[in-house]
Amino acid sequence: MSEHDESRTPVALNGLAANDPHLQPAARNPQLVERVIALCFLAGIILVIGFGACYWVNAQPWTLGATMGGGLFFLGIGLVAWGKYLMPKGPFVEERHTLANSESDRDAFAAAIVERGGSVIKRRRMLGGLLGGGLGIFSVVAIFPLIRSLGPLPKATLFHTDWRPGTFAVDITGRRVRKGDLAVGSIVTVYPEGFQETDNGQAVDQTVLIRISNQDFTTQKGRETWGPAGYVAYSKLCTHLGCPVGLYEQQLQLLVCPCHQSMFNVTNGAVPNFGPAPRPLPQLPLYIDSDGYIRAQKDYGQPVGPGFWERS
């Protein structure tokens, strides 16, 4: 150990002489620092007044933020500098007191709980059991409002939509879609007629209607009648996380989900060929009635959207 500068040795805070180096400011030139801090505070005051003025005259939002932020910033910087450069520089030292108590205190504490409490409870095991049982039952019963009243039980809700045999397909304005409405390669989002009246009609029943060709279109075996006049319809809910499958890549005949980039091939039953979606989009069987309106043959026949436990 070589020589020490005593002023850098930590000392206790109290009992120092007034001229002790530990109580002196850290700045080499306190007068200069004081002037700089004063300038900071002045700038802060001017900006804060400016904030009041800007607010009063209802100026642009950015002027409010600039004056308030700048004002607080300068006041803060000045105060930090005051503390750092003009207040006692220290270093000061404080002893840590052991948090743990003496052995006898600990024993007395443990004895109070284990011996006094334990003996009383042990002697009356039946009472303790009954009380514990009562509180336990209450805590179970207290969960009932949480599991019963907060919402309805799912039951079959997740398994069907509002599409019924013969439901008209309507667009977002409620207008029925007809055979001549879409050119080949066009797409429109359709809903079962009356969807505005249901709570989650738009969210669950949304369906993309794509005209793939001019002839009846079969996307998969067993779906020969589902695509009259080239119209095919798929649920618009991505089977990954339920985002609307909103991007239609016409050249590649893909429906793309913008959330996590799952891609569904619309020509072969919307089988996913890229991304995290695990299942094809359910296809809605369509027919065109004698007046040319596009209608559903029946519901999807399977849950739409993301997976869940009860889905088989």
Binding site: W62, M68, E95, Q261, G307, W309
Partner: protein
Amino acid sequence: MSSDVINTKRAKSEAAGPYGKVGHALNELDDRLGVAKGGRTFMDKIFPDHWSFMLGEIALYSFMVLLATGIFLTLYYIPSTDLVTYHGSYLPLDGQRVTEAYASSVNLSFAVRAGLLMRQMHHWACDIFIGAIVVHMARVFFTGAFRKPRELNWTIGTTLLILGIVNGFLGYSLPDDLVSGTGIRIAYSIILSIPVVGSYLGFLVFGGNFPGTMVIPRFFILHVLIVPALILGLVGAHLFLLVRQKHTQFPGKGRTENNVVGTPMFPVFMAKTTGFLLVVAGVTALLGAFAQINPIWQFGPYEASRISYAVQPDWYMGFLDGALRIWPSWSFHSFGFTIPLEVTVPAVILPGILFNIAFVWPAFERKFTKDFAMHNLLDRPSNRPKRTAAGVAVLALLSTLFIASSTDVIANFFHLPLEEVLWGMRILVILSPFVAYPITWKICRELQAVEGGGKRKTTNVVTRTAEGEYVATAAPVYVDDAHSELEASEVPTFIVEEADEEGGAGTRTVDR
């Protein structure tokens, strides 16, 4: 006896004493609450100085900014999904049917003085809050500040991070704009993916199938009351434990396991920390003024069948979004049941594992190192290569997952096929922790060697003797050297002559 004491004190206060009116007021307070002794101890409390100890303060002060701006916002926001026709000052939306939640959010941005500033400050403060918690947590982890006796405070801090993320998501959902609505839809689907209870849980939280009718009012009360109350209580407990157990400090001159070296609470620390509060608030206001965030009027109101493209969630949700993107589409079906593993694994199990690792780490390290001692002095991260490497490995995993949340943006920007970007990210995410761990471990070992194994660096005086030999001797410790109490590093020998074992000519090794 007790009346004696009161009388003496009263007599003292009546005489005003050497401390004048302030002293009198303090005496009156002490008569009633007995605060003099504890108050003195508190004023004298020593805070160690290190820049990294400010990180937690940033979190605390951005939380205060959140409370202040949040109170402002609740005065104008209406938590209702009733449809209204918008006739406000933002003309592109005029005449649209929107929810009251959305209309009031747009109105408080444009029609209320300073409303837009408050909304943007609130959003920025949230991003800063969670960011500061993460960086603070990293500091605590890498320096070993979580060790005994501070394990409980580590647990509280980790819980605060989770609550912060949850409340950030809830608040993000409230304006009911197109982007946040999509976020809620995804959250609903994630709840749905939980095995056995998922659909019940979803129906209970949302009051029915998505979107339900209750989501905005329920998210509102959770966001403005229940979660903030939990955060506030836990912040109080966090600070109480910090005061009770006193701050940790880095090793250095005069610093031991049994003391704290630094500056006192009053006035030095108080001045610096209050100034810092003002700086944090000021910077948040400047961000709110100049950096646009979440322009809900551009996104438009939420409609279930509309969606926007290339919109990222807030940064702290990025790692979840990235995991959801790169996890393959492996859904599990059996016995008439489905476990949507493509969602459950990345969005439920992965964060569950990550946060549980954080919770059990102190216990894990105690068991692994058999170190059950109390620790008030901090570690240099390089002196704990395994812990540091493990921490960096987790950060590497989180960072690559975060990057994976913008696969589509990367593909567009670099004109790469999406599939290649996806596979590249999958490989990067899997490799990153396994690459980060050994590299960090090696760097730590190298740093230990550079440091001279915890020794003080010395400057050396090199003299040439009359015979022409060069001799290096250690110079005396310079005045302000914070490490003056450490052992000096070795004085180098410039040329070492070593006999060649194989009997060749002597080799001259230059050491250093």
